[in-house]
């Protein structure tokens, strides 16, 4: 029983990261209608950027976080300017392939700089095992859940309370109406890409504390897709819940069976959900038919 709870807790931790990444992914999707495959590799970039700053420049972790945020923001803007914007209006397949090409590019560059093997990440977050009612819970898990909850809260407030947030929601909801009202689509897309990239990078930084960091981390980033779909491709609550579910399932599978089964089982669950209820948990039926 205690093992179960431990697995659930660590699943919630990793799941909250998936939720964060899924948030950015859904935002990009709803604003630009593009399914950005690059999200997984942006997670990897975030982890490696952190690694580079920590090991090459010896910057303490607390300072690394804002630096990575800024770099990720710039990267997101660059992606919008050089990849998305020139190809706006192209057929969907072309745009998706562009994001795949982007992901290949990112992966290639990372490997060229850091090689293919796993890198030893210096320990960044305190990792002590707390004993709560006989269940061992790692502080790193709690910290991660706290951080992601904070990030998601900030985004939620941003979307609800600010003017720009309102405009983003408008574009995500109905791009034609947003154009009628005079919202600058390109600027909103840039913002969406910025947020999407930043969430992915932060996700990478956090994941680095839970997983071995290698280029394979981008495949973990892929798990944000089922999280987003489970959540119904709706922004915040859907992604979070979807992420948590994916995380918990993955951890339980890893704990009770093994690691490679975990991915298969997680995606298997996704498959079943898609077949039975394609609009996910929060989605509405209308959006889904071809």
């Amino acid at each position: 029983m205690t093992e179960f709870i431990q697995l659930v807790v660590s699943g919630l931790a990793i799941g909250s990261i998936y939720g964060l990444i899924a948030l950015g992914f859904v935002l990009i999707y709803k604003s630009t209608d593009v399914f950005s495959f690059a999200q997984g590799d942006l997670v990897m970039v975030g982890a490696y950027l952190g690694f580079g700053l920590l090991t090459w420049l010896g910057i303490p972790f607390l300072a690394v976080i804002p630096i990575v945020l800024v770099l990720a923001a710039l990267l997101g803007l660059a992606i919008q300017r050089f990849v998305f914007k020139p190809m706006m209006g192209s057929p969907l397949l072309i745009m998706v392939m562009a994001t795949i090409a982007l992901s290949l590019l990112l992966r290639g560059v990372v490997v060229i700089i850091w090689g293919t093997g796993a890198v030893t990440y210096p320990s960044t977050l305190p990792n002590v095992a707390l004993d709560i009612f006989g269940v061992k819970i790692a502080t790193v898990d709690l910290i991660i859940m706290g951080v992601t909850a904070l990030a998601i809260l900030i985004f939620g407030l941003f979307f609800r309370l600010t003017r720009v947030g309102l405009h983003m929601r408008a574009i995500a909801e109905n791009s034609e109406a947003a154009a009628v009202v005079g919202i600058n689509a390109n600027r909103m897309f840039s913002l969406a890409l910025l947020i999407g990239t930043v969430t992915a990078a932060v996700g990478g930084l956090l994941l680095a504390n839970l997983q071995l960091v290698s280029t394979n981390i981008s495949e973990l980033g892929l798990l944000s897709f089922p999280a987003a779909v489970l959540g119904g491709m709706r922004s915040i609550p859907g992604s979070v819940v979807g992420g948590l579910i994916i995380g918990v399932i993955g951890q339980l599978a890893t704990g009770y069976i093994n690691g490679t089964a975990a991915t298969a089982i997680t995606f298997g669950v996704l498959l079943v959900v898609l077949l039975l209820r394609p609009q996910g948990i929060f989605g509405s039926k209308g959006v889904v038919r071809a």
């Binding site: 997680t266 995606f267 898609l274």
Partner: protein, 370 residues
């Protein structure tokens, strides 16, 4: 008006019905046959009509690379049928290759069924899996098919791994040399002939399919679903047919791939594999017959080109030297990625666009090709 030669100019109905319409086509066919015939000899003997050719002049390409290229061509054509001609984005390419390899292992190595039967079994298995996945997903938006096939990828690979470990070894599933009647295909030359015939058959088959009503309905569904539906085309059924057909073919190619390599493990079927094929059809030009062929050749030959360049650059050269020598695979990846982005932005028609321009220029000369 009737100019003999390379042009596409036809002057009689009888001429139009002929397989080789103009003298130009006959010339092209003869050249192609000669090339195909001489290629293995040149590669193996490293000489052409007595003139020696060095290994590096050939870019280190040998018959094995050519055979793998042929397999890639077949894989690319079958993916293109689904993506380029029917407009369905499926990430299950590696999964279907794996299904084929699995069938080859089960039916071929374990049950020792005759080779043609194994291939047929592989195709049927692929088609069944395709139908299972396709039935529910094809009624939904493209996004869901992408995700369903992504999920399929992970599930199939996992099952394959279990089968592999359960029945063989973690090192991989071994395959025997295929036997077609009295002929045992056990060296690269025999594989070359087999794969060449298979590739040509596939090419002709797909090309002809696209001329039939079925094939044209694929294209109609890709281009404008609503218009197609209003013409009476049953859109979900067309998609399902295309998906099942493509899965059938891909699984057969997967079985051939397994037999050729002699040994396959689960690690061969990665997402990078899938992405590679997408790169092939995009760079080559989707929605065309020649496109996947160009793309497959480029993708297969690029590592050789990089390798040859790497040999010229000593490892001591700062940055480039190290990178080229240590991470050739990823240099290829970066180059492909950049190529993809450039093509997607500026020339979505891919290499095929250039090919059509070239062909047009030649056939219409001395007029310009507009």
């Amino acid at each position: 008006m009737s100019r003999p030669g390379f042009g596409r100019i036809v002057t009689s109905y009888r001429q139009e019905r002929r397989l080789l319409r103009t003298p130009g086509r006959i010339v092209v066919l003869v050249i192609a046959l000669a090339f195909v015939f001489l290629l293995p000899m040149v590669l193996l003997q490293h000489s052409l009509f007595g003139i020696p050719i060095s290994d590096s002049q050939l870019l280190g390409i040998g018959l094995p690379q050519v055979n793998l290229t042929l397999i890639a061509i077949m894989g690319a054509i079958s993916l293109n049928l689904l993506v380029g001609y029917t407009g369905l984005i499926s990430l299950g390419h590696a999964a279907f290759f794996a299904v084929g390899a699995f069938a080859a292992g089960f039916l071929g190595t374990q049950l020792q069924l005759p080779f043609p039967l194994v291939l047929l079994g592989a195709g049927v298995a692929g088609a069944i899996v395709g139908l299972l996945i396709g039935l529910p997903s094809l009624r939904l938006q493209g996004l869901y098919l992408m995700l369903a096939t992504l999920a399929l990828h992970f599930v199939v690979i996992f099952v394959f791994l279990q089968y592999q470990i359960g029945n063989f070894s973690p090192a991989g599933i071994p395959y025997l040399s295929p036997e077609i009647g009295p002929l045992i295909i056990d060296d690269d030359q025999k594989w070359y002939v087999l794969l060449l015939i298979a590739a040509v058959l596939l090419l002709l088959g797909v090309r002809n399919l696209l001329r039939t009503r079925q094939g044209r309905s694929f294209i109609a569904v890709r281009d404008h679903e609503i218009a197609a539906a209003s013409m009476g085309i049953n859109v979900p059924r067309v998609r399902l047919t295309s998906f099942a057909l493509s899965s059938f073919v891909v699984s057969v190619v997967g079985a051939l791939y397994a037999y050729y390599l002699g040994n396959i493990g689960e690690g061969s079927f990665t997402l990078n594999f899938v992405i590679g094929y997408f790169a092939m059809i995009i760079i080559g030009g989707m929605g065309s017959m020649a496109g996947p062929v160009f793309g497959a050749i480029l993708w297969s030959m690029l590592p050789q080109v990089i390798q040859t360049i790497a040999k010229q650059v000593p490892a001591s050269t700062p940055f480039f030297g190290q990178v080229l020598n240590a991470y050739q695979g990823f240099v290829v990846l970066v180059i492909v990625a950049i190529l993809l982005l450039v093509i997607l932005r500026f020339r979505p028609g891919g290499l095929n666009d250039y090919w059509q321009t070239l062909k047009g220029g030649v056939t219409k000369w001395p007029y310009r090709n507009k």
